[in-house]
Point group: C2
Chain length 185, copies 2
């Protein structure tokens, strides 16, 4: 069965991007440095990313990434937003779908498109909050990076209630501690 | 040699206390629930806490805890603060020392009192920021708890610069992922 998975690299102080929307450090890629290694866990995660059947992306993330050029490694992209899409998303990218009746509807469409494969969720605090509120985020894969970025964009912000998670996998490397959580609704 | 160690239980959204300064959940102890188990890692951490030679505590934490009754399991308590101590800290608790010339001085006094034993650091974002700025925090032991508290007090807030950490130990249990970091200055 298709699962929705939020997969993010996060600093110990909770940031997923620096104030310029880069990933920290001088080259702007600090949070993804762990993925440069071609070790077992990295290959496993890269395979998961490539195997996604669909993407659900927050609008800000989607626009910052120019909708990944129109598809995400071939997978269709669903963007929940109450505002109309930009001209590019409307006219240039046939695999990008803006959904204006809420994140639950966007996730239903993404899961339908994904079939048996997973839906990868891409977004920041707003998208995460909405997905948790709607109960449509199944798993959270956090790559805990041993760095304090000091400032930037947080993955988690204020939520309406406490939410329990279940640890379902821990992979321990010197570059990152990869923890996978299941969301308990 | 004495090390200074910040040991905190933190939710995945970065909180170390809920808005009421409790530890979350209905009983107000969610973040410390992992320590109820009497398993190997819990006993190891409890031994470390008991073995501390001195405490350096942020003023707000120290006052919220009534200075732990005057000592922290027998260990002296050092509180960096530019304001004079409360009457209780001044008159009732001989093992509590307020230090008014900065956190580096407070840490030097705590390390001197601790001898070969560790200095346990207790505090929130302000104390952590000051200790990192002054370069006097050696290690950070975070008990990553699989819960989203949704609101509360964060351990890390804005820092003046990026700080690299080194993962020196990971202990993986269903209740918590215990990661120990060395601070690289």
């Amino acid at each position: 069965m298709s699962r929705s998975v939020l997969d993010m690299s996060m600093s110990l102080d909770g940031y997923v991007a620096d104030p310029n929307d880069y990933l920290g450090g001088e080259g702007g890629e600090r949070l993804h440095k762990w993925a440069d290694a071609q070790t077992g866990p990295v290959q496993q995660f890269q395979s998961e990313w490539k195997a996604a059947g669909a993407i659900l992306a927050g609008r800000r993330t989607a626009e910052l990434m120019d909708h990944w050029g129109g598809d995400h490694g071939g997978a269709p992209i669903f963007v929940p937003s109450h505002r109309p899409p930009s001209p590019a998303a409307r006219w240039i990218h046939p695999l990008v779908t803006y959904v204006n009746d809420g994140i639950a509807s966007a996730m239903a469409q993404a899961k339908s498109a994904a079939g048996d494969r997973d839906v990868q969720v891409r977004g920041g605090a707003y998208t995460v909050q909405k997905a948790l509120e709607a109960g449509v985020l199944d798993e959270v894969q956090i790559h805990h990076i041993p760095v304090l970025l000091g400032a930037g964009h947080r993955l988690f912000d204020v939520l309406p209630s406490e939410i329990e998670l279940e640890i379902i996998q821990v992979i321990d490397t010197p570059q990152a501690t990869h923890i996978r959580y299941r969301v308990r609704y």
